[in-house]
């Protein structure tokens, strides 16, 4: 038996969330007294896959079928199921991403496995029970869930595990052929459209996020948000009212019905902090709120706050970050 880790790659690089997943899988394998094997999906290079050794992965399986470059639900499911059978994997670990949730839920049926998504720490495995802690109620609670199936699938919440880097360790990259047929690619995407990423930082994966609300007064003022984000190397985000009036695109909207983020640092500028917004950000490790209204409810959820005008405060913060060098 072994632990199988699903590693998502994009443009040759292993995604940050997958480095976290690889770390999680390797630590879990050590806990269970076995080894962690990875199966890579997406566009990868052998050199970058070998570097998964730094996260504690011993072997990486990679199917070079070119149609696997883009996400194809059926093909990915079959690929991973085939790898799980070959490796006799009792636990499969993947990212709680759109790909991970799509594939993980299908795999759980195909492999008759217990599935837990949104998992935030390593499982407790003593006493013959396998219990994972996961986020629930839109970040307002956690639940300990017992996985009773013989096989388990765990989708790890982004940014809840810190990726390890043990320099110099390499994984063996092994060619893998899942014998996929044309039928497996019937739901392949016709077209893939990538967004313009301001500063190149992907919001769902970002460790630092600068976010603006209606207090920014209009899209023409977003340079203040972008300047601070750029200085920090952060992604930009916005509240629902801002995306509703098209000041910013929908994919930047964080909140109950938008993207859920859990960065190390979330800086909210001119956002009052409605409960639906908090649901999307409340698992951030540190929250900073800048608002001219001292009664803004967001201050109750914040670690640091500045009561002041965003138009005055933001340039000062950007300058202070630049001064850090």
């Amino acid at each position: 038996m072994s632990v199988l880790v699903v590693v998502e790659c994009d443009k040759g690089e292993v995604k940050k969330s997958s480095l976290e997943v690889a770390t999680y899988g390797a630590q879990l394998a050590a806990q269970l007294g076995t080894s962690a094997t990875a199966i890579a999906v997406g566009e990868a290079t052998d050199a970058n896959l070998a570097k998964l050794g730094e996260q504690g992965i011993s072997k990486v399986l990679y199917d070079k079928e070119p149609r696997l470059k883009d996400f194809v639900n059926n093909a990915y499911t079959k690929l991973i199921a085939t790898a799980a059978q070959q490796e006799d994997a009792k636990v499969i670990v993947l990212a709680n991403s759109n790909i991970g949730a799509s594939v993980g839920s299908r795999l759980s049926i195909r492999l008759q496995a217990s599935l837990a998504t949104n998992v935030v720490e390593l499982p407790k495995t003593d006493g013959g029970q396998f219990t994972v802690k996961r986020g629930a109620f839109s970040g307002k609670a956690f639940s300990d869930v017992v996985l009773s199936g013989e096989r388990k699938i765990i989708a790890v919440k982004k940014n809840s595990i810190e990726a390890q880097h043990e320099a110099g360790k390499t994984a063996e990259v092994v060619a893998f052929a899942a014998q996929l047929t044309d039928a497996d690619f019937a739901d392949a995407p016709k077209q893939v459209v990538m967004q313009d990423q301001a500063g190149g930082v992907l919001l769902p994966e970002a460790a630092l996020v600068v976010s603006g609300g209606r207090g920014m007064k209009g899209p023409e003022n977003w340079n203040l948000i972008e300047d601070l984000a750029k200085a920090l190397g952060a992604a930009t985000a916005c509240s629902k009212p801002v995306s509703d009036v098209d000041w910013r695109p929908h994919h930047e909207h964080v909140g109950q019905t938008g993207i859920t983020v859990s960065p190390n640092l979330y800086i909210a500028c001119g956002i009052s902090g409605a409960i639906q917004h908090l649901a999307g950000v409340n698992s951030s490790k540190v929250i900073v709120v800048i608002n001219k209204d001292p009664e803004a409810p967001f201050f109750k959820a914040a670690d640091y706050g500045i009561v002041g005008d965003v138009f005055d405060v933001l340039p000062k913060l950007t300058a202070a970050v630049k001064a850090l060098g």
Partner: protein, 246 residues
């Protein structure tokens, strides 16, 4: 075209979350329940597509006990034609998926829609389970859904972009914004909903594969540390030296 829309009965988004004294269950006392906000996108889009394709029907399904019926009636008031309630407490995502798959198979639905996830258990699982149980494609999460005959064109959100996907019926899609503007019931809808069929069916056999051992609330925040606006740069120093996040 036969649409099946899966709705979940969840605590209102403003609910303060508490648990029973043994921390094993959500404390429902005094809590207002609503249709899961993500499911409202699925419901409204199904109704829009029904209106655009004569002869189509929208059936709503909920796996729940009798206390979910007010929200099932609300879905009928918004514009669904009929409803099925599988009479069982939803044990876990797998159990719910089995119930939906059994109903979907019997009713030979063309399009099965649901929200991206429920805002209470945040599973994001049922869509793929139903698709796999029925052996049909799943597109999750979908931001756009158009139908032309038996072919659907969807936009699927991926991290950092979107995919344009075409699938033939039958298929499953889990929906999110900006798919449509969710509708609210009007007075005429509320009146007609009273007499629309709501069928209660027993659960098919099905075991849960996961059990909640305990719920817990996150640790309380220490309270906000305020920094003077005139000395805003001090915040950056604190973030580096105290919080150590930059």
């Amino acid at each position: 075209m036969k649409f099946l829309v899966c709705i979940s009965n969840v605590p209102d988004t403003t609910t303060k979350i508490t648990f029973t004294p043994d921390n094993k269950e959500f404390n429902k006392a005094g809590v207002q329940f609503v249709i899961n906000p993500w499911d409202e996108y699925a419901l409204t889009r199904a109704i829009e597509l029904k209106e655009a394709n004569a002869g189509s029907t929208v059936t709503v399904i909920n796996v729940g006990e009798a206390d979910t019926e007010p929200n099932i009636r609300k879905a009928l008031a918004i514009g669904a034609d009929d409803a099925i309630r599988v009479n069982a407490a939803p044990k876990d995502a797998f159990f719910v998926a089995e119930q939906i798959a059994a109903v979907a198979k019997e009713g030979a639905y063309d399009v099965i829609l649901m929200g991206k996830e429920s805002i209470d258990y945040n599973g994001f699982q049922v869509h793929g389970m139903v698709g796999e149980l029925l052996g049909i494609p799943t597109v999750a999460p979908a931001m756009k859904l158009d139908m032309s005959g038996n072919t659907a064109t969807l936009e699927r959100e991926i991290e950092g972009g979107k995919e344009i996907v075409s699938v033939n019926t039958p298929f499953v899609a889990s929906c999110q914004q900006p798919m449509c503007e969710p509708r609210i019931p009007n007075m005429r809808g509320i009146m007609t909903a009273r007499t629309k069929p709501l069928k209660v069916v027993p659960a098919t056999a099905g075991d849960a594969r996961t059990t909640v051992a305990e719920f817990a609330l996150p640790p309380k925040k220490q309270g906000v540390k305020l920094i003077d606006a005139d000395n805003a740069g001090e915040l950056i120093k604190l973030l580096r030296n105290e919080a150590k996040v930059i």
